[in-house]
């Protein structure tokens, strides 16, 4: 059995069938990427893992925890942290308070302080702006803050939803490097991206999701060469 296992998951929004028997798995230590177009079901998958929506059928299990019944705050305190699409940082709170809020479920004050320092050392730009309001940061800095906030929560499995959205190519590269570094330090990453080129560069494996099901899967390097992926997601 895999570390994170999603098997035949069905999710509905009202009468919209968003996920159709979706199955995939993630092993500890990996960066796994879900590729797909708008509306393919990638964000729904993330929301299902973090407990925001519940599957109507199927198995969602992570490291011995049944994610279909666990409370969202229990999921967070066990180390599954979801960085949502659009960053969703707290705009009128300072950078520092945003980071501290990431440690909401962490009881150990020293661990929080250490992880805040870790976030600042990974992203020195945040340290320079620690007293500024989150909403005054640039898009790339806001994305870094969203990742930093998740780091303070102590992630073992980090879900990142479209971290490259709206960022300039150079900034996308920086953000991807930060994600790769977080992974090297021991955090497993599940990455949802429309920017397939950037994502496949750092991912180990990838799944292609279309209309709520997995249509292709394999090592990232192979998928990057696969003509179906190249045509649909990488362009010329």
């Amino acid at each position: 059995m895999s570390w994170l296992e999603v098997k035949d998951a069905d999710v509905y929004y009202g009468r919209v069938h968003a996920l159709r028997e979706l199955s995939f798995d993630v092993e500890e230590g990996e960066i796994v990427c879900l590729l797909g177009n708008n509306g393919a079901g990638k964000s729904t998958t993330m929301n299902m893992l973090s407990g925001l929506v519940r599957p109507r059928a199927g198995v969602v299990r992570w490291d011995g925890t049944d994610l279909t019944t666990a409370k969202p705050w229990d999921i967070v305190s066990r180390g599954l942290i979801h960085v949502p699409e659009g960053r969703r940082i707290f705009s009128t709170m300072t950078v520092h308070d945003n980071l501290l809020l990431g440690g909401y479920t962490v009881k150990d004050q020293r661990a929080i302080a250490e992880r805040v320092e870790l976030a600042y050392s990974l992203m020195p730009r945040l340290a320079e702006r620690r007293k500024q309001q989150g909403g005054t940061l640039s898009g790339g800095e806001q994305q870094m803050l969203a990742i930093g906030r998740a780091i303070v929560a102590g992630p073992r499995l980090l879900l990142l939803d479209e971290p490259s959205m709206g960022l300039a190519p150079l900034v996308v590269k920086q953000v991807m490097e930060i994600i790769a570094e977080v992974n090297r330090q021991g955090t497993t990453v599940l990455l949802v991206e429309q920017n397939a080129r950037a994502a496949l560069r750092i991912a180990h494996r990838a799944y292609v999701v279309e209309t709520g099901r997995v249509t292709l899967q394999g090592p990232a390097a192979e998928l990057a060469q696969d003509s179906r992926v190249v045509d649909a997601y990488l362009g010329a």
Binding site: S50, P72, V76, R88, F90, L100, Y104, G135, T136
Partner: protein, 297 residues
């Protein structure tokens, strides 16, 4: 002159305490809780019940007794606030804003006329006489009990500001006010934090109710209606959702009323103060300390 300021500060601190709950609840779930003024009334009636069940309290003991009753009333009104949120507002959290607003008005009438059925329509004398022992400071005639009321109000506001700005729960409150779903993703139990906000806000209103009962000497089932509107006004003037705004707005309204009554006569008091408030809002529609956030995507 100084006397007018002092009188304004006393009344203003009641307004501030009630405005804080209004502002906090609005800030966190964007609900204008029209039943909030009635929590103030309930606080006064809880104090009334406890005091009457003790029989008379000697004047020398009136201040310590009042503090004990204040605490008791805060706990009771806080729990009532939590219960109201649970029963009347939470089930409607995702309904259109107007539905919850109507519910709040319904809760308000339920509390007012429920108390009327229990205690009758006539005003009741608040059974504690504050000692009128007083002294002169800076040309103001200040009684010891007035001083105690103002200090208690200030301490409550200070504690609240500390909770909201420096503690983990306070950070969660601010986060929910900005983006409840993102707060949820950070592991915040949103319902529990909202309940906490209702507890704190209601307890502050309850405290103000007890203090007002002791200050004015009489209470009735509709006493929360007008102060509810005034506290709402104070919260908007200060910048709704902003704690310091609510404090400032309350004190400002108290001062305006005090000066208006002295300069133009009591019957012109509200005309004067509300005319000035309209002018303030004309120039500063977000309120004195209202948030104008710099946002960039």
């Amino acid at each position: 002159m100084m006397q007018l300021i002092w009188n304004g500060l006393i009344v203003g601190s009641f307004y501030s305490l009630v405005a804080l709950g209004y502002s906090m609840v609005y800030g966190i779930i964007k609900l204008l809780n029209f039943a909030h003024g009635d929590i103030y009334m309930l606080g006064a009636f809880v104090g009334f019940l406890v005091l009457s069940s003790f029989g008379g309290i000697p004047a020398a003991m009136s201040i310590p007794a009042l503090l004990v009753i204040l605490l008791l009333a805060m706990v009771v009104t806080g729990l009532i606030g939590v219960a109201i949120e649970r029963v009347a507002y939470r089930p409607l959290r995702s309904s259109p804003r107007l539905a919850v607003l109507i519910t709040a008005i319904g809760v308000s009438f339920t509390l007012e006329y429920g108390i009327r059925q229990l205690f009758g329509p006539n005003p009741r004398a608040f059974p504690v006489r504050l000692s009128s022992e007083s002294f002169d400071v800076l040309g103001m005639r200040v009684s010891l009990s007035q001083l105690v009321l103002v200090v208690v109000a200030a301490v409550l506001m200070f504690v609240l500001a500390h909770i909201v700005e420096r503690t983990r729960e306070g950070r969660a409150m601010r986060a929910i006010a900005l983006d409840p779903q993102a707060a949820h993703l950070m592991g915040v139990n949103v319902n529990r934090v909202i309940a906490t906000v209702f507890f704190i806000g209601s307890a502050l209103a309850g405290a103000a109710g007890v203090m007002a009962g002791a200050y004015y000497g009489s209470i009735d089932f509709l006493m929360g209606f007008v102060i509810g509107l005034k506290a709402f006004t104070a919260a908007v003037i200060g910048g709704i959702g902003n704690l310091y705004g609510a404090m400032l707005g309350g004190l400002l309204l108290g001062l305006l009323e005090s000066f208006g009554a002295a300069w133009l006569g009591g019957e012109w008091r509200d005309v004067f103060s509300f005319a000035i408030l309209i002018v303030i809002l004309t120039f500063k529609p977000t309120g004195l300390l209202g948030a104008r956030v710099v946002e960039r995507m």
